[in-house]
Structures are given as C-alpha cells and as structure tokens.
C-alpha cells in the first residue's frame, strides 16, 4: 500500500472483535438476527417516497427540538412540576445514582423493579443500587436474561440478542430455583413472567426509561411490547423515570411521527403493543398509578455534543437501533465487543461524549464508512461524517486540539503525523508523485511481501509494471 501504515487500535477491542468474528455460531446467529430485523423494518416501509418524507419530518422535528433545547427543558420542568412530577438534574452518572438512592432511602425502599432503560445502563444504576443494599430486578425479558447471566445488553432494543434459545434455556434451569430445563420459548417466557409478576407486587419503586418527553404538556412517552413498562410505572408506589436531556420535543403533535419512525425502524412494528403517556402521579379518586413520580434528567457529556454545531446531530437520535441492525461491523462483532453501553454506529458517535474520546477513538476508526447506518437512520443523522469528524478530533495535535471534544488529540502520534505529512507532500506535488509512483512500479519487485494488516486477509498488493499514465497513448 502506498499509504502509511501506522495505526494500532486499542488491543482489547481488536481482540474481542476477533474472538466473535472467528466464532461461527455467533456469526450465524448475529447474521440471522440482523437479517430478520432488516426485513421486518423493510416490510414497514414499502413506499420509499413516503419513507423519505417521514424521515425528513423526523429529522426536522429533532433538529427543531434541539435548536430550542434549553428553553424546552425549562418548559418541561415547569410543566412536569405543575403536573406533580418531581424533576431532578444529574450532570454525571454519579449524580444520577445519588439522586436515585436518595429517593429510595427517603422512602425506605428495599426493592426496585425496572422497565427497560438504556440510560440506567449508562449510569450503571444496578451496581449503585446493589452497593446501597437495594435489590434491583429487570422486568424486560431481554434485560432479565442479561441480568440473570450477569452480562450487559448487547443491543439497545434487544438486549439479549447475542443469546441463543438453548443458552437461555440452560441459564433459566441453572439460575432460577425450581426450574427444569425447557427450550420451549413459550414456557421460558411463562417462567420469566411468573418470577417477575411476584416482584411487581412487592417492589417499592418502579424504574423506567423515556422515549420522548413533551415540554408543552409535561408528558413522558414510553413504548414497549411486554406490558412490563406499564407495570413498572403504575404498580409500585414510586415511579422513577431516567433519561437523557436530549429526549425532549416541544409539542404533543411531534410525538406521532417520531414514534412511528421509532417502532417501524426498531422492530418493524407499525406501533408497539403498549404506548404509555405519563403525565402525573395518581390523582385523588384514580384507581391506579404511583403516589410519586420522579424524573432524573441526565447530561453526562450530552451538552458537549450539543455545543458543537456538527456534533449536535448526534443528539437527534431516538435510539431505534436500526443503525446497528444494518451495520456490517456490528453484524460481525456483536454488541459486547464495543465495550460501551451503546454499541454499533450510534455507540461510536455518542460514546466519545459520554466517556471521552481518549478511551473510545478506536471505535470511531472501526468503520468502513459504508453509510448503511445513515441510509436507514430515521432522523437522518449523518453518522459517517460524524465518524470522520471524531477521527479528526482524535488525531489532532493535543497542543492545539481545542475543547470541542474531551480527549481530543489522544490518538496523536508524531510518527503517524510525519507519515501523513510525507504522503501529502508527495501527493500534492505532481512531479514528486510521478517520481514516487514511477519508482514504485519500476522497483515493484521490492514491494514488501508483508503489508501490515492487509496481508493478513489478502495477497500482497503489487504495483503494475507500467502505470496508467505510462500506457496511455497520448501524442
């Protein structure tokens, strides 16, 4: 290759990725699952023109919302408070956990039942609760499986997608007392349900995520298929919702197009089985609902993305997971290899804000920039452009890297820079370029047989005997 070979990405990431790529069973199951999800999504969008219009609308709503983010958050807080929902602001994961534990302790809560929430994964709430002596049980079937296995979700919509039916069957038999091995999916679901139903009755606090928040009305929207979300938010005495600050929209009318895009892009459903619109605790005379509703709003680096005009589009995300379902890299390495809460393309662009670019830049480099993600993203986030931007930030000279992204300049290496300078110096001067390529073709027998990462998968590249320009007959 006539380009500098200089980069060694984070070894751990590469090793994890390799282990999955070389595991035929995992390869087959990821491929099958991704194909299934891709087809389901496609079936929901038979008319491409209509889809593109809806995506335009989704993008516009999200961009509009972000353009007014500070105002919308203020309105949201005022409305929610007026509705009787208590709002808490958390700058860091530690803040979020502390706030949660304070709420729990004030109520003497001992057991928590959780609906699906990626933000609670992001702050590692379960860990914090465990440390505080509070029991937390996941009630989403996928999350429950992952929790039982002592793992983390490998997909933002389908947390246990890396597990086969047999693995789940074995897990249930091993970890749930009194359960015999069965690999009937129906029976497995019934077993899980039974365990969870009992817990719903006794938990003091129900936790949930939020898909969208409506500023004008002070409403929290939550979509789900299992009913566990509704149970978590209505049965226990206290409901604590936790989400990122970017999830706000202005009006109720902004919700339907986004939900329509979300559920169709995520699971290929026109709408989920349950759509919860939560606007207050139980009012006098109402039959059900919690006595208290809290909302924890997490920043955790989101304001950094917000502050940059290009990176802000990262926050348009509605967490549908379509980008990972269509990603050739995710399909090969699965969610765990990324090592971050959010895997796949969205993980690559959001994680640097949450965790710093220093620990996550290897992810930004692990993309072919094929654009499959951006092609399906319902809110048109230009993911490949953002990846290029993050690479740029990572390779900057730390002395002049600026403060747009925490950890910028962390991948800088003077050797690599010198190679790029050399490359640019050669390719920007036609005479030098001609000399270099002439030598490369005349001395082709000197081309190294080993060409770094390339010859691991390929036969070595060798320049042609005579270049195009030598063979082009021109008077």
């Amino acid at each position: 290759m006539n380009q500098p070979l200089h980069f060694v990405p984070s070894d751990e990431f590469r090793q994890r990725a390799q282990a999955v790529v070389e595991n035929p069973a995992l390869q087959k199951s990821f491929r099958g699952a991704m194909d299934f999800l891709q087809n389901k999504r496609l079936a929901q969008f038979p008319d491409d023109v209509a889809l593109q219009r809806l995506r335009d609308l989704g993008e516009a709503i999200r961009q509009y919302s972000l353009s007014k983010l500070p105002d919308l958050l203020e309105t949201l807080e005022a409305k929610l408070t007026a509705n009787g929902i208590q709002v808490h602001w958390a700058e860091t994961p530690e803040d979020a956990n502390r706030i949660f534990i304070e709420i729990a302790q004030a109520q003497g809560a001992r057991a928590v039942i959780k609906g699906k929430s990626m933000v609670s994964e992001e702050v590692e709430l379960n860990h914090a609760l465990q440390a505080a002596g509070i029991e937390a049980l996941e009630s989403d079937m996928g999350e429950y499986i992952v929790q039982l296995a002592d793992e983390k979700p490998s997909h933002i919509i389908m947390p246990a997608i890396h597990k086969t039916k047999v693995e789940i069957a074995e897990l249930f038999a091993e970890r749930i007392p009194g359960v015999d091995y069965t690999d009937s999916v129906d029976e497995l679901i019934q077993i899980g349900r039974k365990v969870l139903r009992d817990k719903f009755a006794t938990a003091d606090i129900g936790v949930s995520g939020v898909n969208l928040m409506v500023a004008e009305t002070g409403t929290l929207c939550l979509v789900e298929n299992e009913g566990n979300g509704r149970m978590s938010t209505t049965v226990p005495r206290i409901h604590v919702a936790i989400t990122g600050i970017e999830k706000v929209v202005e009006k109720l009318t902004h919700v339907p197009p986004l939900l329509s895009l979300l559920t169709r892009s995520a699971t290929g459903q026109a709408i989920t089985t349950y759509v919860n619109m939560i606007s207050s605790p139980r009012k006098p005379g109402e039959l059900d609902g919690p006595d208290e509703v809290h909302l924890i709003l997490l920043d955790n680096g989101r304001t950094q993305a917000y502050a940059d005009p290009q990176l802000r589009s990262t926050l348009q995300c509605i967490r549908c997971g379509a980008c990972m379902n269509h990603c050739p890299v995710y399909t090969r390495i699965g969610g765990h290899a990324y090592g971050t809460t959010y895997p796949g393309p969205i993980g690559k662009i959001i994680s640097p804000h949450l965790l710093g670019l220093d620990s996550t830049y290897a992810l930004a480099t692990a993309s072919t920039l094929c654009g499959a993600c951006a092609e399906v993203c319902p809110v048109r986030i230009p993911i490949p452009d953002l990846l290029i931007r993050l690479r740029t930030e990572a390779y900057k000279n730390p002395a002049t890297a600026g403060e747009a992204v925490r950890g910028a300049g962390s991948a800088y290496s003077s050797v690599a820079m010198a190679l790029w300078h050399g490359w640019a110096a050669t390719y920007r001067y036609p005479t030098l370029y001609r000399l270099f390529t002439w030598c490369a073709s005349r001395l082709r027998f000197l081309t190294p047989r080993k060409q770094g990462g390339w010859t691991r998968n390929h036969v070595a590249m060798q320049p042609a005997k005579r270049r195009f320009r030598d063979r082009l007959n021109r008077p």
């Binding site: 094929c370 230009p382 390779y395 390339w454 998968n457 390929h458 042609a464 270049r467 030598d470």
Partner: protein, 267 residues
C-alpha cells in the same frame, strides 16, 4: 448536507452529448490497475468523446480525509482543483473517488478561498457507468459468448452517485450476460480504505462473507466499478485459495462489445 438514502441521480445530465471530457484515473488505477483506466478511456473514445488526461493529477485526497487528516487531504485535493479549466465533465472509473470529489469537496473547502472552485469541480464529476448511461446513452450490442456475472457496487457508488442503477442497466443491456445476485448484495465488502489495514480482524470477517456469497453464485466473473473493492474481494479470494475472476466494469463492457482491452488477461 448530503442526504443518504435518496437516489443520488445527478441533476447535471444534459441532452447534448459532450465532445470532450476530463479523465481522472485515480491513484489506485494509476499505480495498481492501469488496465481498468485504459479500458475506460477506450470506451469513452469509442463513443466519439475526446478524453483529456491532465498529467498533473495525483489523488483525490480520500485516504487522508477519511483517516481524520483533513489538512493533508485538503493540501492534496487542492492540487486537483486547477486541473479542469474547461467546463467539461470529469469522469472517474471509481464511485468512491467520484463520491469524494462530488460530495466531500464542497464540505472540505467550505470557508476557504477555493470554495467556489471546489463547488464547480464537484458539480462536473461523474462516475463512469453513470456517465456512459446518462450522458452518452451507451448502447452497444453484446458480442460475447453467454456468461454469468455477479456485481458488486461500492458503497460510495451506491450512496453517493447514481452508479447503482447505471451499472445494472449496462450489464442488463448485454444480451449474453446473466446477472446473478449474491446474498447480501448491498452489504459493504469490508474494504473502507485504511480500515482494512487498521482493523484486519473485522474487515477480514466482512470480506470473508462477501467472497463466500459471490463464490456461491458460481459466476464466470465478478464485476465492480471500484478497484478498491475489487482488490479487497479478489485479494482475499486469492489468499484463501478460491480465486475470483474480478473485472472492472470498463474492462468487461469493452470486451463484451467487441473492443480491444488493455489487460490481455491480467487484472
């Protein structure tokens, strides 16, 4: 901002057949696959177009741009901007480099003194197959024996140019050629330029599957309009001892329609 997922058919198709075009051969073709470039030139000339090759061209700058080195990319890209003084179309035998010049030049040069020039160049850039179909109405009878081919369209060609439909229609216009569609045809081949060197584990997994799906079609050749993808796919196939007969679209078209190709078998 560019919109992914829409049909990026060029708006600059004109009714008048151009007499002159610039040819940007790309650095990969210049040094590694000259036959593809020569056959592309032969195709264009046979249609009665005068092909101009600005000698001072080097590289579109993409390797540095996608590697997060915008300054180096800009320095190299700037060198290309002055090569096309006449208002002729600029044709490239690569969807990837065409996508770079058409979509990324305007963004890269935004706010610099060369912004207007970059915009003007970007607006004249064509990927070869797209130019053959939309501008030259390429329509030559097939004179080869019947054969079957698989087609791989690069991701940039697919998403940043109108090459996807153009390449298909060119192949479908060849009577003796049957086009077989491999599984997961639209998926990336795993090349991604420097990605294939930096992340050989992942890249290798993707190209492994691509080679398997193409090989399963048992076609006589694999056609692609991008030499990067071709070197990736055939380079891997050769490495695992299941060689594939990879051909650039230009070579294949020329050979099927009775032209004399530059390759004499070697690709």
């Amino acid at each position: 901002m560019k919109k992914y997922g829409v049909d990026n058919v060029m708006a600059n198709a004109s009714n008048q057949k151009p007499q002159d075009v610039y040819f940007f051969c790309t650095c990969l073709v210049d040094l590694f696959v000259p036959e593809a470039g020569l056959d592309a030139v032969a195709l264009l000339e046979r249609e009665g177009v005068r092909v101009h090759f600005p000698e001072d061209q080097t590289c579109c700058g993409q390797p540095a741009y996608t590697s997060g080195q915008p300054e180096e990319a800009l320095a190299v890209a700037r060198q290309q901007l002055d090569l096309f003084p006449e208002p002729w179309p600029i044709v490239l035998p690569s969807g990837s480099c065409a996508g770079m010049m058409r979509h990324h030049y305007p963004t890269m040069f935004k706010g610099t003194a060369d912004a207007a020039k970059a915009e003007a160049v970007a607006g004249r850039v064509w990927e070869l197959s797209e130019f053959l179909v939309r501008s030259l109405n390429f329509n030559r009878p097939d004179c080869g024996q019947s054969c079957s081919v698989a087609l791989h369209t690069s991701c940039s060609a697919r998403r940043e140019t109108g090459a996807l439909s153009a390449t298909r229609s060119l192949i479908q216009g060849l009577e003796g050629v049957s086009l077989k569609v491999q599984e997961h045809e639209s998926e990336c081949c795993g090349f991604g330029g420097m990605f294939s060197v930096r992340h050989p584990e992942i890249s290798g997994g993707i190209v492994r599957d691509k080679v398997a799906s193409i090989a399963a079609c048992e076609t006589d050749a694999l056609i692609t309009g991008d030499c990067g993808c071709m070197l990736n796919i055939t380079g891997h196939a050769a490495k695992i001892g299941r060689p594939l007969n990879g051909k650039h679209l230009a070579t294949f078209l020329l050979e099927r329609t009775g032209g004399k190709t530059a390759a004499e078998g070697k690709l």
